[in-house]
Subunit: 149 residues, 2 copies
């Protein structure tokens, strides 16, 4: 049974998605179980990688940043692994997602609100990725709704 | 000074972005201040909207879901507000972002791993948005890196 995800795990992740600062006690009360069981479940979910991270969603604009989503299509036949390994090390690259569909690589970047700096970072990024076929750059101006599950 | 964001606020948000479950005590120790001051700062950041949410990043694949990012370009002149208000109510639409650039609306959806169901949800979504010029659908297969700030 270790490593298996059940209904209670999904409920627990949904609660944490709404508020990851809920204490073991609060989670236990909502799910009508004990703190020990909640703590054991969360440890399991972290260990098997079902929970990747507890994080915060800031208002980037409020903090003085521009948040960009860059959808990249790499030409067929180009191996993605070396590209991803290189990008992982980049301080400016915050999120890297492998994908299929319109894009096969999605990159999220945060930059200060200066067009020259943004241009530089985008050029830097594209120079590091071999075989780019298409690059769709979208600047997020407002996060209107944010739920995870 | 209320509502102003300083260096310490940014440091605090960066710590919470790495692990939003850190306690006031742990945060106070790292930032060499008191629990009371941390708690007051976090309250301020939540109140002014600089912190939008404490959440968890799951492994969608592990939980049995497909995670999609849909970049939408709406024809010029079409008002976005009614579209956004309609989409906010949609249970399947998890994240809605206003944007400028390649797309002016970015939608994140989560769906069970069944192509028929995915097709249905995408068709449902597009039928609800007036004046779509272009729709780029990207299925996220793996989150390789995830940092926020």
């Amino acid at each position: 049974m270790r490593g298996k995800i059940d209904k209670m795990d999904i409920q627990l992740i949904k609660l944490l998605a709404k508020n990851s600062r809920l204490t073991y006690k609060e989670l236990a009360e909502i799910l009508r179980t004990t703190r020990q069981r909640i703590s054991r479940r969360m440890e399991k979910l972290e260990r098997i990688g079902a929970i990747k991270k507890y994080t915060v969603i800031p208002d980037f604009d409020r903090l003085g940043y521009i948040y960009m989503i860059i959808g990249i299509t790499i030409k067929p036949g180009i191996p993605m692994e070396p590209v991803i390994e290189k990008l992982k090390m980049e301080e400016n690259v915050k999120i890297i997602e492998r994908a299929v569909g319109s894009h096969n690589l999605v990159i999220h970047m945060v930059a200060p609100k200066e067009m020259k700096e943004i241009e530089k970072r985008i050029n830097d990024l594209s120079s590091k990725i071999e075989g780019i076929d298409k690059m769709d750059i979208t600047f997020i101006t407002d996060i209107v709704k944010f739920e995870i599950l």
